[in-house]
């Protein structure tokens, strides 16, 4: 029995253990769930230690004697105080620093999510697509204008906005169904193809 076959059999066992939850909660499912969490953590922690702590904290401070690195390292350590009731306020300092970086992205996010989107909604209405986009944008924006009661002609226009949104939610839900089925197909392809060798 090759290493690949053993690996496939173990993976098949855990896949079926997880699927067994569809029948009802059981010890196999709980065991597979616990192993998954343990393996994920066991894999991520040494990798982060080797790829983050060693090259960016240990090596610069202890080998290259760049002592300025101590300041951001200490700031990072403050995150640990999140677990202390009395000293949790200290963890806000690195969070504040992180928020400053988020602030840096605001002008660029405005550009890509607002300005460019607005520009694309202001195209000449010379085909059916641009006409539909124009009507959809206006009616949905009007729907979210709550200073006027949605009654009469105005109510009919905002109702069209609801229809646009419903179509959008439907498309989104359709994609979600497709995604979930795809994940199941992936697992069944593994079980039927890789483990049993029945897919040609």
């Amino acid at each position: 029995m090759t290493f690949e076959m053993i690996g496939n059999l173990i993976a098949a066992f855990f896949t079926l253990s997880i699927f067994s939850f569809l029948y009802k909660d059981n010890p196999f499912y709980k065991f597979a769930e616990a192993i998954f969490i343990g393996v994920s953590m066991g894999y991520a922690i040494p990798l982060a230690y080797e790829k983050a702590f060693i090259p960016f904290v240990y090596s610069p401070i202890f080998l290259e004697h760049r002592f300025s690195i101590i300041i951001p390292s200490l700031m990072g350590i403050l995150y640990i105080f999140r677990f202390s009731k009395n000293l949790s306020w200290l963890s806000r300092y690195p969070i504040v620093f992180g928020m400053a970086i988020v602030g840096m992205g605001v002008p660029q996010a405005m550009h890509s999510s607002v300005l460019v989107q607005m520009r694309s909604s202001m195209l000449p209405i010379d085909n059916i697509n641009t006409a539909l986009i124009f009507i959809g944008t206006i009616t949905i924006l009007l729907y979210f204008f709550f200073s006027k009661e949605h009654k009469g002609l105005y109510g009919k226009v905002t109702n069209l906005g609801i229809w646009y949104m419903m179509i959008g939610f439907g498309a989104s839900f359709g994609f979600t169904v497709m995604a979930r089925i795809s994940l199941l197909i992936g697992r069944i392809q593994f079980l039927v193809g890789d483990v049993l060798g029945l897919i040609k």
């Binding site: 894999y43 999510s113 959008g168 989104s172 994609f175 497709m178 995604a179 795809s182 992936g186």
Partner: protein
């Protein structure tokens, strides 16, 4: 005496576990009895293919593949990663890969190893994996690569200095001017970071390979031209697999490789029998789409039956 239930009422009270069995059968049977469902290629997939193909054989051009997902979405994203890597290896497009999630690292290596099975490509010459970089470095690397890739990334996953690698040195690849296409494979909004920082600031072409769940969110960027192309879930992967087979890995009558330029006419007339493709990793998504088609038909039937049942029982209640 209890009232007799009709068919639809019985269906509505059906134990959900029977539905699970039907769903499983709707997927297993088409996988075991494969048929050739036609794969129609959509424009976002075409655009991405054409963009990558335009870099074919160019020493001073490269693309970056960013793996931003873990094994839970591998079924959708892995086939498209393999298809794009095959396209690059076949057409001699220089590829860089990177990931910022620990769980993405083994998937990235697995995709490269799967794709390079059929090609004599070498790490550091034809492709290079920058490996796993901590997520805290995501933004510094995205912005830093706009100035100097070697400075921003420093070492590859084998610990070699990126600046000294032939793939970088020989083509004079320094920043986004040369590495002008980034494809992010994600099950999250990671693509948005590339659009916001790399595209808005440096004008780099950004494309996405996303799970179907995320596709709807990304269409707005596609419509505005901020995404060069997009592969949506298993369907997008199946489309790209087909394009690679029809154009990039095309063989002439004597069986010699004869890659073709993209053409809608050729694509229209192309018909590939899946059973003729020996390597299963080259057709994973298309086999999956056969099962997907049957599963979707089944869900449509369920929705119709459920709605009929709902209206019948509502009317009964009113009466």
């Amino acid at each position: 005496m209890s009232q007799k239930k009709n068919f639809f009422e019985k269906m509505q009270a059906l134990d959900r576990r029977y539905i699970y069995i039907v769903v499983a059968l709707a997927i297993i049977i088409p996988l075991l009895i494969p048929y050739n469902s036609k794969t129609y290629v959509t424009e976002p997939t075409e655009n991405l293919y054409k963009k990558i193909d335009s870099y074919a054989g160019k020493e001073d051009r490269a693309i970056l593949l960013c793996f931003s997902h873990d094994a839970s979405t591998m079924a959708e994203l892995f086939p498209m990663e393999v298809a794009i890597l095959r396209h690059c290896f076949e057409r001699k497009v220089k590829v860089f890969t990177i990931c910022f999630m620990p769980a993405a690292k083994p998937l990235m290596d697995y995709a490269i190893n799967t794709a390079k099975e059929d090609y004599a490509v070498q790490s550091g010459i034809d492709y290079v994996s920058f490996g796993y970089k901590p997520y805290g470095l995501f933004l510094p690397i995205v912005l830093g690569m706009g100035d100097d890739i070697g400075e921003a990334v420093d070492t590859d996953d084998q610990g070699r200095k990126v600046k000294d690698l032939p793939i970088i040195k020989d083509g004079g690849i320094t920043n986004y001017n040369e590495m002008n296409l980034v494809i992010d494979f994600a099950a999250s909004a990671a693509v948005f970071t590339w659009i916001t920082y790399a595209r808005a600031r440096f004008g780099v072409n950004v494309a996405a390979g996303v799970t179907a769940v995320m596709a709807a969110d990304n269409y707005i960027y596609l419509q505005t031209g901020q995404l060069t192309g997009m592969l949506s879930g298993l369907k997008g992967a199946a489309e790209y697999e087909k394009l690679v087979d029809v154009f990039a890995t095309y063989k002439d009558k004597n069986g010699k490789p004869a890659p073709r330029e993209f053409s809608k006419e050729i694509l229209k007339d192309s018909w590939i029998k899946l059973s003729d493709i020996q390597n299963r990793s080259h057709k994973t998504a298309r086999i999956g789409m056969n099962a997907q088609t049957v599963a979707h038909l089944m869900i449509i039937v369920f929705i119709i039956l459920g709605n009929i049942g709902y209206f019948i029982s509502r009317n009964k209640g009113k009466n």
